[in-house]
């Protein structure tokens, strides 16, 4: 019988989160580290994000996606971290045995003493939105179109309508224009765009592409190939105002309507999922509710900047090492305080904090439920406001990072810490 190979840390997914986690785990003492990646190369979605703007926080320069990826891939290679490419994880069981399949290895099982989940996201599709109409060719998710154009070298269409103003949609509006297509419009159901300011300026305004706020697509037309879409204005409750119906002739529809963390494996291994983020509930060390199973990057919550994904990966890598060194006291496993979403806060990562494992400070990541002007972010413990941060602008499209000094929370008999958004007093 062949013995099963045992690794100290197994990382599932070789995108930016997984690369950072693997490097950090190796750096802090793990001997056998393995990255499992289903694509033919490492780097994840960065490889198709050929535009610049990555790395402002990590490197103080603006890199393209592939440049950012290559820096971390080189680190991982130099550290002699083992990588299995073209390899799919089929399942993980409670004993941390991972079943994988690949052309080279066939169908095998391996074991990770610690596992780091970094599978990222997948895109929401037309089916998820239930857009009525025919089923012609020419309807793509924005990321799929991006892969076709930037990696495989296929153009997706000539006259394009984009639904959703998330960053990928905005980036694709510019990319398609540069490649000779005409982008007839970008519709956003909300009264504001979900993309970064710079992308609205440099991807839409630079090329005079109209952004239709509070608009959506209600019907798709065409038999073989898409012939056009029916667009309407919506009211504040997102209800279509049918009188405003307008037909846009186009042969291609791109959907940039959100990402869903890819957590089938997480659920299989028994990880608790947060209904708000659709990702695992994690603690201050990025450990999930299952001992020794960590998670980082877009599988936990959707990030807007890869720089922060890298930070989160590092945290998970370090956490895995602390777990392997038996620094996590099992007896106190249930002892944690929760981070609570107060008024105006959509979610907070991490959801749980274990006092004895906090460093000098803890970083809370959160998003607001809508746009705010001139407000205060308040951190509240048992009715006491312990910290107030003034903000002139808050937007759901930009993740907020709050660095909380640990001495504000440790040694206090509390069970939660609340963050809320209030009018400036």
């Amino acid at each position: 019988m062949i013995t099963m190979k045992i690794y100290d840390v197994v990382i599932i997914g070789g995108g930016p989160a997984g690369l950072a986690a693997a490097f950090e785990a190796k750096k802090y003492g793990a001997k056998e580290v393995l990255i499992i990646e289903r694509n033919e190369e490492l780097g994840g979605i960065l490889q198709q994000c050929i535009h610049n703007g990555f790395g402002i926080h990590q490197f103080r320069e603006e890199l393209t996606g592939p440049e950012y990826a290559e820096r971390f891939i080189n680190k991982v290679k130099k550290a002699n971290i083992e990588c299995m490419l073209n390899t799919m994880v089929l399942g993980i069981n409670k004993d941390k045995v991972i079943t994988i399949i690949s052309k080279n290895e066939g169908y095998i099982s391996i074991k990770g003493k610690a596992i780091i989940l970094s599978m990222g996201c997948r895109e929401r599709t037309r089916e998820a939105l239930m857009i009525p109409g025919t089923r012609p060719s020419g309807i793509f998710t924005a990321g799929t179109a991006q892969r076709f154009i930037n990696i495989e070298g296929y153009m997706v269409g000539k006259k394009v309508f984009i639904l959703g103003s998330g960053d990928i949609g905005l980036i694709m509006a510019r990319r398609l224009t540069l490649e000779g297509a005409e982008v007839v419009g970008v519709a956003e159901i909300l009264p504001y765009s979900c993309g970064l300011n710079r992308n609205i300026e440099q991807c839409l305004k630079d090329f005079d592409i109209p952004l239709l706020l509070q608009h959506t697509v209600i019907e798709v037309k065409g038999r073989e190939r898409l012939e056009g879409v029916v667009v309407v204005e919506v009211d504040d409750k997102k209800k279509p105002l049918y009188k405003t119906k307008e037909f846009y002739k186009c042969d291609t529809l791109l959907l940039s309507v959100g990402l869903i963390p890819e957590n089938e494996l997480s659920i299989q291994v028994g990880v608790e999922i947060d209904g708000r983020t659709k990702g695992p509930i994690v603690n201050e060390s990025m450990e999930t509710s299952v001992d020794g199973v960590f998670a980082c990057g877009n599988v936990v919550h959707v990030h807007d900047l890869v720089d922060y994904v890298t930070d989160e990966g590092r945290l998970a890598g370090k956490g895995a090492i602390r777990y392997l060194n038996n620094l996590f006291n099992k007896a106190n496993k249930g002892d944690y305080i929760t981070t609570e979403c107060g008024k105006g806060v959509k979610y907070i990562i991490p959801q749980r904090l274990r006092m004895e494992h906090l460093n000098e400070w803890v970083m809370l990541h959160l998003r607001t439920d809508k746009n705010y002007d001139d407000v205060e972010i308040q951190i509240v413990i048992q009715g006491d406001i312990i910290k107030t941060i003034k903000k002139s602008k808050l937007s759901p499209s930009e993740m907020i990072r709050l660095r909380i000094p640990s001495d504000l929370i440790v040694n206090r008999e509390i069970d939660n810490i609340k963050v809320e958004i209030n009018e400036r007093s």
Binding site: I50, E67, N150, N197
Partner: protein
């Protein structure tokens, strides 16, 4: 000359900055920092962008090589720049930062490879 509103993209704050030409230069209102002032003046007088695209590459495992200009180039030259990029066809191997077109359109910017690609035989 009436004032123009420009959204600053130097940082996520996205200040709406108004800029107006005056005798001593430009009158800039609404910026929260010095970078905002620099940004709007350049944006008004000579807006520049980094251009990114891909070129066809042979003998590699994927068929497009991502490329970028190593400096921002004048916004009005973006489409001419893309036309030049589309004429290029190269063969692997390529190293990151290899120059694909030097001094593209006389802009002083080089078009460089945005990643390394090994030579492979496709099956």
């Amino acid at each position: 000359m009436e004032d123009i509103i420009i959204v600053c993209t130097s940082c996520p704050l996205g200040c709406k900055i108004s800029i107006e030409k005056c005798d001593s230069g430009y009158k800039v209102i609404g910026n929260n920092c010095r970078r905002g002032e620099v940004y709007v003046i350049e944006e008004l007088t000579n807006p520049k962008r980094i251009v990114t695209s891909t070129v066809k590459i042979n003998k590699s495992s994927i068929s497009r090589l991502p490329v970028r200009t190593d400096k921002p180039i004048s916004k009005e030259k973006i489409f001419d720049c893309i036309n030049e990029i589309n004429k290029v066809e190269i063969c692997a191997p390529v190293n990151i930062e290899d120059i694909i077109i030097s001094n593209i359109l006389g802009t002083n910017a080089n078009l460089v490879a945005s990643r390394s690609m090994k030579k492979t035989v496709r099956d």
